[in-house]
Symmetry: D2
Subunit: 312 residues, 4 copies
């Protein structure tokens, strides 16, 4: 995450200013406002702005004239109740805006979450930096043998070295081709006065999916939690999961009661099917239940046993 001195100075300038406001403020989030939090080898997230706090959830649920909050225990109880019973609209009353730097293939997964506002750095308009993602050695992995869209064991030895070398060489070559076609480097200097240069919107197509892009991304708390529950999940690709985990850290600072309820009722919980419930009731009654008689597939049964902390 190499910020230029100019970028650092801009951030510092913003952080130095404080203005009085009548709006709800969250000191713990103010503390990290504008600060980049590193993710992967060149990426980051940083909180740029926010609206509301835990009390704003309570205030909206009560459609109140003032803060709407009562005792801390009552507020916490209401937030837990809303989370448990899928009363999602009060959580939509808080909003957060991030600046994110991320590899393009991660951006392609991320953008599938449609209930957000996005402004992406335009490669039609500007020249992309020479920054690309190379996985850390412990993140190189084989195709999973039991999950058709996941990773298996870590790749090592000469095969791993060759992968890293190949990724790096091809990325560097892609950027060289990009710059050559543009006839301009990322400082804007013309390379060869005898050439005209290719339009940016065309030249960019030579870059590979591990190049970094960046965007402003803004969403409400309810949709953010949906995003996080899907992307912080163990089935999500590692390269997006680390972004989700960094963002959960910012949610903890921003709305601690909501974040706790989210862990309790979403991240830490589990959904049982009708057949799963039947099996659980029988297990509690001390009966033995087998996969065969459960009516579940082997995979589904294995998932249930894992949730219940049983050996399949």
């Amino acid at each position: 995450m190499p910020l230029t001195p100019e970028q650092k100075a801009e951030i510092d300038r913003l952080r130095a200013e404080r203005t009085p406001t009548r709006r709800a403020t969250v000191p713990a989030l103010e503390e990290i406002l504008y600060e980049p939090i590193p993710v992967l080898d060149h990426g980051f997230i940083r909180v740029i702005d926010y609206m509301g706090d835990d009390a704003a959830v309570v205030q909206a649920a009560r459609v109140s004239y003032g803060k709407g909050t009562k005792r801390v225990s009552e507020d916490r109880g209401l937030i837990e109740y809303l989370m448990r019973h899928r009363h999602t609209t009060p959580f939509e009353m808080c909003e957060i805006k991030y600046h994110v730097k991320l590899p393009i293939f991660v951006a392609r997964q991320w953008i599938r979450h449609r209930t957000a506002n996005v402004n992406e750095y335009s490669a039609r308009y500007s020249i992309l930096d020479n920054e690309f993602y190379i996985p850390a050695p412990d993140q190189l992995a084989t195709q999973s043998s039991n999950n058709r869209q996941g990773r298996g064991e870590v790749l090592s030895g000469p095969e791993a070295r060759r992968v890293l070398e190949l990724l790096r060489e091809d990325s560097e070559r892609a950027y060289r081709g990009y710059v050559e076609m543009l006839n301009e480097d990322d400082s804007g200097a013309v390379l060869d006065a005898a050439r005209q240069g290719l339009a940016r919107e065309l030249a960019r197509m030579n870059l590979s999916l591990n190049f970094y892009t960046q965007w402003y991304w803004k969403t409400d708390l309810h949709n953010l939690l949906n995003f996080l529950s899907l992307r912080a999940d163990s089935h999500a690709q590692y390269e997006i999961r680390v972004y989700a985990e960094a963002m959960i850290g910012t949610v903890d600072k921003w709305v601690p009661m909501t974040a706790a309820a989210f862990r309790q009722y979403r991240l830490g919980g589990a959904h049982l099917s009708e057949r799963g419930l039947v099996a659980v009731r029988r297990l509690i009654a001390g009966e033995t239940v087998t996969q065969e008689e459960s009516g579940m597939s082997k995979r589904e049964w294995a998932e249930l046993m894992e949730v219940l902390g049983q050996k399949g």
Copy 2:
């Protein structure tokens, strides 16, 4: 807009507090934060929270590390450019939250704008106040003769008096029935200990569409401007238009450059059809153009002549 002393006190408490923040603040909007702005006989809007300012639009368009703003004239030029060319995403980076009190029939039109977050006062849970909308005498109007969904001339004399009397009597009677069925008044006092009272979710169906409800309504600047361009339009029903106009006043305080561009390119402009453009080009060339040869319907032609300030 009769706030109770408790409500007033709650608002005053909120307004009295000021906290330092690193976020963008807009002093002109802070000035009116939480204050109810009266609309119709018992309604209001009040700004409860906001995120961003004109500079946040510029910052998002540039995906910048700092404020992203340059000279005032450049920022204004960029905002005008974005508005003119329908580059809408930077305007989505600002967000505002209102508390609105409005008649149910207005709420029914308003809710059709789907890209917003809403928390409405629940009549399943709470008892509605005895407040209903009665039009001011100059707002009583006949059905329009040339617009099947609008108003014509003002109604006056005995017919107008009868309408006002009838609306008032029926509303009062509806509320009496509501309270009788609930067996409870809006202070929660039981009316007749021998009766059990009807569930709130059922009793409310006796209220008419002019009763007031209230909600928290939050949206981004782009979608707000869309809402305002439709609802501040002369074709919108008067009772929702006055809300839109009050809200435009708050947008002027919040994002003055964007508000000016909105007036210039949206509210004050006009969309010409292909046939309309042909007619305009011919008119500029000094030719005479008639409705018949324009290919337009009479109504469309009349609309064009009005836009051009010509007599049809």
Copy 3:
């Protein structure tokens, strides 16, 4: 649900026509296409159009050139997998359109689901029919004592009779006032040539929330299932639940595999919290667990016991 002879004839005309198509068709749904299914005393739902079937879900998940389906058991397995793991986008590839007649207070709950397309009968433009909802006697209920937004026991005797009488009288009176102000009845006949009549957009405000409105409502299968899981739930108000139940019947005909997976994994299942999972694991291990040591509130504990079929 009194259709006029003209409406019946229109529906019969549509039902009589059959055209060949290359699109996916579902004979069981074609069977009931356009037919109104009665709900409440004057309401209905009817399926007006649909796109896709169970195979379209499979086809989209596989991004296939042809149907994408394989053996029935494989297709069912894939649909169950998608439902279980919240892979929701393939279900968005099916679409359905309903014509619904419903009381206004039900419409006000329904419209809160924003990811749908709606065209409502306009009372600015047309005159509403004299049809209002009166609950069946077994649906009159007191306010619930343990759930602040639900119903308790059935109301009976003189209090129930009085409620029904009051609802009916006030509704009839509201409609009389409406017609008098319009100076026009629902056939369009002018009542008193000496009067001008009030604009429709104003007169409608005299009607109460139990009057019927109607709309075209269109949504995709994923969002429909979300709607149904919330509105067919026992916490939903009875008057919207009966619509949801009638719609589930149409989903059974339309996409039987998806409907079965929906019952298995959504309607018939349950979500456990982190604390709930801990308790379940201990119960399976034969331990005794009490509410106090579970860390749950009394209400949450009672909900868990109910899900597990245990006595609290």
Copy 4:
């Protein structure tokens, strides 16, 4: 657009089947259903399914029990009225589903339209084909000198040849690296039994943005027209514009009245600002107006003159 014989056979099978339906059908669209329409060097669009027709727009606007259509001229007039006055909801009642094959950099622009349903071919799960976009020689262009995000004149001679060579070489090399890391080719054959192969979700990052992906994309008619008006515009990048143009051809077959109104009121029309209207009124009155006194920037003035067919 090299379809494999298996893909062709699948499409032919689907096209051969015809089933009777009670739904609205559009023979002209049925004619091309499932057929790929070539776009760029390897891409295509094909219509997979549709719901509704011009009559469905009319039917929804009238909330009718039957077709709701009257005489052709009345229906056309209503559709034009709806288009002119931005009554968008009736157009949302028609839905269409496409299968699209497109370069990844085009997909990244396309996906920014959020009101659509998408299922994309998963490169976590499957291996991408060795197909990449190489611009036709007449589409190689320099950066525009007056539009910072567009193309200028066509590039030719040795510089153009070098660009094509470089794009092709780098793409081929990227695919070789992809296959080597996977240790598997696109037929699934293992290359080297001594290696394990990298997970697909990682290997894909070596591919460049001109590689083709494919998806199912479904949207309603209103949002489709929005997409088309932005992407068929002369400011849109050529590589997405050709997709939009091919899609407009399918809209012409599907809903000819709506398509004509769209050309008349959206594509062929123009939006004038408040200052633009003032200038037009003065020009019609025979006055001379200059850019300086118009209050417009040079660029805005040039845009107006172009719309009016005047020389600046």
